[in-house]
């Protein structure tokens, strides 16, 4: 399996705080990779750096073999590298369907395509299918801002799927979700990977979820890469246990 995403010796500091230090990791194409670590270990910062929200201080980030660390957020997104946000971001004043339609992939289209109607049947069908996939079909005409927190998270996930990414980076996809619904979400993530061929890179705090979901896991602590391996290896790694239970 070739590497879809390669992060090499990436460092990022904010003022005096070293958020990421010399981090190297790799996400193989078609896989599901996890990123864990206690609060403040630099996981979200790393995600943000990868998608171009922050310029990195050192290192290299390659997507599909091409260097992306100098590119801007929209450019990287158009290459097929998307992320969802920890605080769940959707377009609150638009309906779910509209959220979906505007999330349709722009990679295959030119700027002029934006002036086509909103009700393209192929796009609408795709949107409805994705909403159905996450279980939001009945809510499709509601204003997105009126959905519950969990429903908004699902909508954000559906919007990401709509965009047909190659690699989808999810920042704590199960945070704040009712525990009874988490299995359903894990199932959908696996199906997105298996059926739609989307590579997943997931930040998670819920150990049960990530052990169940990921094939390979990286653990960060204090901004550095602490451990890497299969779920079993990570589960038994004393350094990881220390990092979570030990002193900060």
């Amino acid at each position: 399996m070739s590497a879809l995403l390669e992060v090499e010796s990436v460092s990022k500091a904010f003022g005096g705080v070293q958020a990421n230090k010399d981090i190297s990791l790799m996400v193989p194409e078609g896989s599901i990779v996890g990123l864990i670590g206690p609060n403040g270990s630099g996981k979200t910062t790393l995600f943000s750096s990868i998608v171009g929200q922050y310029p990195i201080d050192n290192g290299s980030i390659r997507f599909e073999g091409e260097e992306i660390s100098r590119l801007r957020v929209p450019q990287i997104a158009r290459l097929g590298l998307l992320r969802t946000f920890q605080q769940t971001r959707i377009y609150g004043q638009m309906t779910c369907m509209q959220n979906m339609i505007i999330s349709a992939s722009v990679r295959k289209r030119g700027f002029g395509e934006m002036f086509h109607g909103q009700h393209d049947p192929a796009v609408s069908k795709h949107a409805e299918d994705m909403l159905e996939f996450v279980g939001l079909y009945e809510k499709r005409l509601l204003r997105a801002g009126s959905l519950s927190f969990g429903q908004q998270k699902l909508l954000e996930f559906a919007m990401a799927l709509m965009n047909e990414p190659r690699l989808l980076m999810l920042d704590e996809p199960t945070a704040g979700i009712n525990p009874t619904l988490i299995n359903g979400l894990i199932d959908r993530l696996k199906r997105a990977n298996a059926q739609f061929g989307i590579t997943l890179f997931v930040i998670e705090h819920n150990m049960r979820v990530i052990m169940n979901l990921a094939e390979h896991i990286y653990c960060l602590a204090h901004g550095e890469l602490l451990a890497a391996g299969t779920p079993d290896q990570i589960r038994n790694d004393p350094n990881v246990l220390d990092a979570y239970l030990g002193a900060h």
């Binding site: 929200q53 922050y54 310029p55």
Partner: protein, 293 residues
């Protein structure tokens, strides 16, 4: 260019520029205060300056020496600011910043037009009759120098007030974290009212000096607002030294530009400078994938 062939003229320009620049810095300090404490950008800032100027004019017209207005104007304007807060501003404090921009813009237009209707659009000066000072071959109006020193003293008093007095500390606490301040028993609404009134008073003092040392009319407001805003953007909220330096620098720059470009382009220079400053600032932030917040 003319500037370097006639060094006397340029020193004169710069000194006069610094003198007015101190007044700009004062208005900027007030704007930063309100912005930092209440998260409101007061577009009517210049109108408070203008009103202060008219207080000086009213004293002058009634035979009272306008220097007294330096004490009277802040007093009057404090109540104007406090009243405007209680009537209008408190309703927009918690809302979108654009709403507060529009509301204060509306207030600014209201006050301009009110003054224009009552006092006409004539340009006025409150003559203080203090003559001129000679610095070598440069001749400076004494009132400008008096105004400059008074501004420094007022600025100093304000800084001390904010650091040492209980009210000043309450204001600073609220600006850092309003919710925490409330929890600790600070009446934030009262703090906001006092802050807004204090800002108006500061501008009132500035305006009184402008009326004496320069001139006023109902429409001087917007340029003062823009100057204050520019200074705050360049210096940053909370950077007093920066505000002073930026204010002085702006005064000098404007004066020089007015000489070089012609007085008919003075305001054009000020507003173009605003655009340039904002675009430059934003572009530099954009290189770091950020934008002005």
């Amino acid at each position: 260019m003319l500037l370097f062939q006639a060094p006397v003229i340029s020193a004169d320009l710069i000194i006069n520029g610094l003198l007015i620049g101190a007044i700009f810095a004062l208005a900027a300090y007030g704007m930063a205060l309100v912005w930092g404490v209440m998260n409101i950008i007061n577009i009517a800032q210049g109108e408070f300056v203008m009103l202060g100027g008219y207080v000086a004019m009213i004293l002058f017209w009634n035979g009272i020496h306008p220097l007294f207005s330096v004490a009277v104007a802040p007093f009057v304007l404090f109540f104007v600011g406090w009243a405007l807060y209680k009537l209008v501003v408190f309703r927009v404090v918690d809302r979108d910043l654009f709403v507060s921009l529009l509301a204060t813009f509306g207030l600014s237009i209201l006050m301009q037009q009110l003054m224009n209707t009552v006092f006409t659009g004539n340009i006025q000066t409150a003559q203080s009759g203090l003559g001129t000072i000679q610095l070598g071959s440069i001749s400076i109006l004494s009132i400008k120098v008096v105004a400059f020193f008074f501004t420094i003293i007022l600025g100093g008093c304000l800084v001390v007030f904010m650091r040492k007095s209980r009210l000043g500390q309450a204001i600073r606490a609220t600006s850092q974290n309003a919710r925490a301040a409330r929890v600790l028993g600070v009446d934030t609404d009262k703090v906001y009212a006092v802050t807004f009134g204090l800002n108006a008073a500061i501008c009132g003092a500035a305006g009184a000096m402008v009326a004496m040392a320069y001139s006023i009319h109902p429409y001087i407001g917007l340029p003062y607002t823009i100057r204050a805003f520019m200074i705050v953007v360049v210096a940053g909220l909370g950077n007093i030294a920066g505000v002073v330096l930026a204010g002085l620098g702006l005064g000098a720059a404007e004066n020089v530009a007015s000489f070089v470009l012609g007085t008919e382009f003075q305001l054009a220079f000020t507003f173009c400078l605003l655009v340039v400053v904002l675009v430059w600032r934003n572009t530099r932030l954009a290189a770091k994938r950020q934008y002005l917040k």
